[in-house]
């Protein structure tokens, strides 16, 4: 093969090739990464602390938000991504919070551009914290930076303790991992030690929290940690 133009002929000087190699060397996520950086600048300029909540479908993102919005002493807004319905948005609006719904259609994750459009419809000046409920999916959201300050992955007890081993990229990319539905530990025969061990292997830097949105166990610590993270958020440009 001709190394210079990549075509099947040899050597290079002997053929007048209509084709040539264009060098790109760009990440597939470069466009999204650039938009995410723009979001981040915008959030920081407004002093907004942004939390991206990710999990598999039904792990309890909306339930956790419903509880959190009632407890957290910080004015919050929510962007919620959903494939088809606006059911989560309706649930969350009942808490009196400003909620923007993003229908992602067939797309199984939110991207930075969608978040930018959604945030444009919120009055961010009145907000301290913005929660983004991502689409329930443990694969794609790992690769899409939204410009958040904190990526929180939920792992619910019924999913089993080996989830982190099956989806390492997402857990690895998370700042915090929240083990949810701990009220079901006994009923599910959940091996808590093994779960924490797996998380330690896959995401050694992540902070681990455990809670139940149903019983409220662990909610105080979750909210305290959020307040602390909010207070030490990066500011300015």
């Amino acid at each position: 093969m001709c190394i210079e133009c990549g075509c099947g002929q040899q050597p290079h000087e002997k053929h007048d090739h209509p084709h040539r190699v264009v060098s790109v060397h760009e990440s597939i996520f470069a466009d999204n990464d650039r938009r995410a950086e723009r979001n981040r600048g915008y959030f920081r300029a407004h002093g907004l602390f942004v939390v991206n909540l990710v999990s598999s479908p039904g792990a309890g993102k909306t339930a956790l938000l419903e509880k959190t919005l009632g407890l957290l002493p910080l004015r919050s807004g929510v962007v919620v991504g959903d494939l088809e319905t606006d059911l989560d948005a309706i649930r969350l609006r009942k808490t009196g919070t400003s909620v923007v719904q993003v229908a992602t259609g067939t797309l199984c994750h939110l991207d930075a551009a969608m978040v930018a459009r959604a945030v444009g419809t919120l009055n961010v000046k009145t907000l301290a914290v913005l929660f983004i409920e991502n689409v329930g999916n443990l694969v794609c959201p790992a690769a899409f930076d939204l410009g958040e300050d904190l990526r929180v992955t939920l792992l619910s007890v019924p999913e089993g303790e080996d989830k982190p081993l099956k989806y390492p990229p997402l857990f690895r990319s998370s700042n915090w991992v929240v083990v949810t539905k701990i009220d079901l530990e006994e009923a599910c025969g959940f091996d808590r030690e093994a779960c924490l061990g797996h998380l330690g292997r896959v995401a050694p830097k992540a902070r681990i929290l455990e809670l139940s949105s149903k019983t409220g166990a662990g909610m105080d610590q979750w909210c305290d940690e959020l307040v602390r993270a909010y207070e030490s958020r990066p500011k300015g440009l």
């Binding site: 760009e26 990440s27 597939i28 996520f29 470069a30 390492p168 292997r201």
Partner: protein, 113 residues
């Protein structure tokens, strides 16, 4: 599902670069995929065969270059190759989140005519 999004982004990026280079067709693409991304090359190839239709890359072939995982141990400063999705230092048996290689997902080059 994930692979579809990756291939869509790849094709959009490739078409943009091909046009910028004055090309009217893409005959091949070189994609670099890290072993620790969780991306399945076969799924990328299947998605590519379907999604390339109607683009400048309609007749293009796709070459996937795999990149092995490399972890860095903070404890003992060892750089080690990691297989699978998890990087554990072979000396300390401690896992690391510091990956020096294996997370690539990059359009390296394309051939246009």
């Amino acid at each position: 599902m994930h692979e579809v999004g990756i291939v869509q982004s790849t094709l959009a990026m490739a078409e943009r670069h091909a046009r910028n280079a004055g090309g009217s067709a893409i005959s091949s693409l070189l994609l670099r995929v890290g072993d620790m991304t969780g991306v399945v090359p076969e799924a990328i190839e299947h998605a590519f065969d379907v999604l390339k239709i109607g683009t400048l890359a309609e007749n293009a072939s796709l070459v996937i270059e795999r990149v092995g995982g490399i972890g860095w141990c903070e404890g003992c400063s060892l750089e080690f190759s990691a297989d699978g999705w998890i990087a554990i230092c072979p000396r300390c048996a401690v896992p690391t989140g510091d990956l020096r290689s294996g997370l690539e997902l990059e359009l390296v080059s394309l051939e246009v005519s």
